[in-house]
Symmetry: C2
Amino acid sequence: MSGAVFSELDRCFRYGDGLFETILFVDQEPVLFDEHILRLIRGVQRLALDYVVDPANLLKRCRLARNTATELASAQRHVVRVQLSRGEGGRGYTPPDPPSIVREVITCHAIPLIPDVIKVRLLDTRLMISRLLCGIKHCSRLEQVLAASELLTGNKNGSACCWEGLMHDELGFLIEGTRSNIIIETKGRLLTPLLDRSGLRSTLLDSLNASNAGSEAVKSVRMRLDVDGELQVLDQVLNDEWLPADRLPPTAWEACPIDGLALCNSVMGVRPVSELAEIKLPNGRLITNFAAELNARCGYA
Amino acid sequence: MSGAVFSELDRCFRYGDGLFETILFVDQEPVLFDEHILRLIRGVQRLALDYVVDPANLLKRCRLARNTATELASAQRHVVRVQLSRGEGGRGYTPPDPPSIVREVITCHAIPLIPDVIKVRLLDTRLMISRLLCGIKHCSRLEQVLAASELLTGNKNGSACCWEGLMHDELGFLIEGTRSNIIIETKGRLLTPLLDRSGLRSTLLDSLNASNAGSEAVKSVRMRLDVDGELQVLDQVLNDEWLPADRLPPTAWEACPIDGLALCNSVMGVRPVSELAEIKLPNGRLITNFAAELNARCGYA
């Protein structure tokens, strides 16, 4: 811990006016560092922060922060959390002019516990529709907080809660987990939700865009997942129209079997899911191979 | 200023996980205090904060905070900002269990400058669609920050910027200003935008619900306002369907003249607007009378 302290004038404290990244380090080496840097740059541009992202310098500071986390001394893996706050002041919502000094807080943490067998359920909490805020890892994360709270409560039978919950957006499309992205295998294809107006872009999936194999392997589409496990996939390009799910022409939809489901994020890699809403899921061949390959390539295996 | 300090573990700092209210005090007496308390209670319930709202006690602490703001000693009016943070800790987004102690920060500030002649323009920044977050005054306010930044920049001719900007939501409906609510006079009616899936509920307009006169005076409907000043009002109840504006049956719409426009919030009361996007607006009789009456009743006159 850096032990940094802030006044109540700090804009992250007042308005969630900042960004963060959580980066996995294995043997002091960052994983997917370029993708984290690119997402951070996108966020800095979107928020118009007065901050120049200097990857080499940031990496140095991430490594320095490790030295203060003595409890992690023997850990082979740890995560580094980098948070940027716009700094202090400004009249109300308006950012200060000239800009304040952007505050950078770097802390080190143990790897979160990830079970070997992952069970998920669908959450009632809906993700906001916001082309302004989607994609970037900003600090206005109240809906993830409320989704995580919902995830903590057990199901109606009082049985154990799940490790992760899947969320739809306000228009009814499947988007992501509270802290992970989703990959679904169906009919010989790997699909991920389109994240152009809701959700957080995955550094892990972004890393696939660099390779042709990757961009062909996983296709982003709009999809809906019902509680009974029925999957509806819409492959047609919507041209960014605000077409609610239940008003789509019926021919645009197809009900698909779920042949496999996986979660991914930059800390845990790709993890197959064994149960959705207490229903056992098949171990799809495609998604199993994909997980193995990607985990090996990125150092999660 | 209270001079309070926080660690980087504070959940408002990390995730915008808290609430605030900005309350006007006139001669040490709060204005619309009940409505602020009610909105705070709604927020505490929505976020499931471990905090009991005690109005008498909170008022006492607001008055005590005034004593430390020596620069306001001779001011007849000031504002008190009350912020609640969920406190420290928790694993990632998940709130700590058992809950941390909710942090309460109370600060006093001078009344913001409000020009006599108010000009507004339409902003490009769209408000999120989120039934989860709309209505409550939470601390995840990044879209207001970005809207306020857009407001600061002059128009394409480089002329002076406006005091306030009006915002539509992601579905194209008119919602609110960056820090005020909207009232429009058209064809003998006073209308305010429906705020059931976007925007912040106004304490000032909420105060009208207590009186029959009020609830009849201002009707909440979905409406759209084009840059050329054309107003479209949809009076039909939509039954909370996600029906995009441009897919509405044409008969549901009527183009209306804007006979008057006003902004309101709990610090400035109701203020008529003189220009929208550099077009002079009429001083509607209804809205002028309404502003005078409400300002007198609530102590803004």
